[in-house]
Symmetry: C2
Subunit: 388 residues, 2 copies
Amino acid sequence: MENFVFQNTTKIIFGRDTQKEVGRIVKRYTNKVLLHYGGGSIKKYGLYNEITGSLKKEDIKVFELGGVKTNPRLGLVKEGSKICGDNSINLILAVGGGSVIDSAKAIALSALYRGDSMWDFIKGTSKPSKTIPVGVILTIPGAGSESSNVTVITNEEGMIKKGYHSNLIRPEFAILNPELSFTLPLYQVACGSADIIAHVAERYFTKTKYVDLTDRLCEATLKTIIENAPLAIKNPKDYNPRAELMWGSTIAHNDILSTGRIGDWGSHKIAHELSSLYDVVHGASLAIIFPAWMKYVYKRDLDRFYQFAIRVFDIDPCFGSKESIALKGIEKLQEFFKSLGLPVTLKDLDISDDKFDKMADKTMLFGSIGNYTELQREDVVNIYKLAG
Amino acid sequence: MENFVFQNTTKIIFGRDTQKEVGRIVKRYTNKVLLHYGGGSIKKYGLYNEITGSLKKEDIKVFELGGVKTNPRLGLVKEGSKICGDNSINLILAVGGGSVIDSAKAIALSALYRGDSMWDFIKGTSKPSKTIPVGVILTIPGAGSESSNVTVITNEEGMIKKGYHSNLIRPEFAILNPELSFTLPLYQVACGSADIIAHVAERYFTKTKYVDLTDRLCEATLKTIIENAPLAIKNPKDYNPRAELMWGSTIAHNDILSTGRIGDWGSHKIAHELSSLYDVVHGASLAIIFPAWMKYVYKRDLDRFYQFAIRVFDIDPCFGSKESIALKGIEKLQEFFKSLGLPVTLKDLDISDDKFDKMADKTMLFGSIGNYTELQREDVVNIYKLAG
């Protein structure tokens, strides 16, 4: 086990009707809030009225910025930052999934910054010293951004998608009501589930030896998602599987599962290029790339892939050789993604091989990637080919 | 799944040599500290010098209070509280296991209180409003007090042992170096392991339905402890199993595993009476009482005990009837405790049945106990008999 420091301060308020408390909760921080959201769905299903009603009941002045897209853009972050600055806003309330929360975190980073934008922090030319707190009402389980310390932003100049870590942007509170996910398109539920799986798996595939507890906690989370995601898609209004997915999304990414171990995150970076070039939803890009990455690297530590197959997919150890069991585990994961209605190859999205080189170049923009297996440009091209 | 609020703010600093950072860490809070510890072991093995050296290097003034016993007493808490008050101390550094940390938390509760002592809070005649922060250097994995919001104190008047919960006493930071547990008596390692198991199991046995993720996280933690405790006892200087036990101790009791479910805690209360009357080490009392409790209540929800047997002890589902499998799981747990060198019956400690009535009376002092199964006085006597 590696030495580590772990602290996750986000207050989770989980369960039915919890969004109705938002006014009371926000009131502890401020009487002026930026309500940040995506498209029209929060208005369509009444959530917008419920939230603004609860805030206004507590005499909280509400500023608004909607329009966050999948793979949130720096342009909108700059706009939000200006609204916060112009109006001395001191809490951003993100209502949505990972994209909205990431956008809110990026605004929080920029709002009190005198330079150009938070992209300076990503480039490393400056460091944030102060942020505005972020609160969350989660509607899409998946990204785990509700209690993580990371934001992933796409810069329209060059369409570069990149993450930034800082404990300054970990949300103060996150309201998680699984009922708010009932009206999601089923494809989005599937994408979110793939994202949860990938967050755990990026931590699971590690070079660190003797990490029994976190291995088993990872396997526990994977098994829960694998069992509940199909149920959540089959019965969209059944609270129970939605609750497992929503809490699973947070657990997968609140860093408990990575304590004492170094994750890989290569697949995430390779998948990001599908999103930034083709606007593929993050979870869908992972459903394509993660199994391809697994096939490319499994020989690096056969024991770990064997353990994954045996413990997560209950493959019978008598099934065959260690390698065939390891490969069976990868196949099972790919079948699982497929069963959720997700693409599992680039062909499924009509993406040809003509931009593999460009995508690999962009993946390597900030140097070699991965930790479980360090990957160079050529490896990345090979993984795109395996995903073809 | 039940609605819940979860927040655990303790900063964990985990790994080799981390205690050497204590001066630098404490300095962020204060320049005056009460160093609180138990017997002489921290002096015997050099830890005392290491800590005081690190604190003094940062010009931190160190006051001291040693002498915390297993099942920490209110008398010493009052003494600590007076030292803090007299010297305007504003951080208590607990160096030890659960007893020392619990004692430090109780001092933290009392130090700024103008009434008699923190026992008023336990009685419910008063409520704490302000506390002194607590920091921890953990030497014994087990109690999980290093990041929990609870303290268990024994009042010498009537030898009443009772817990008190408050987020005000959750430690600010906890330094966890598994190497500091290398010199522990092996019996103490065994007791700590039983305590970890019981903390998870008290959460696992719940009436709450559809708690897949936390069920599996509990099972993951149990399996890890069951695998690693024997190794930690066999090879006391092997870092790896000690690290699994130490992080397992925190995970078992930091409340992640109880999110969305209501635990039982009846066994803890029944076991407390063995400690307060016979001064049995907490973990040993649980190794006796928990299996007895299981035998008494398993019919309440056979499916859950069956699941425990199958998933935690890998009992073959073909072993026999659901009931026989459930019973096999209980037997396996008892065998496990025995294999660690723990007592598993009251006879093993030469405790006869002559005080069962008195113990049951004291257990019920604050009303009926348990949630998975609510227990009355007669049930408690029966459980003592089963443990006989």
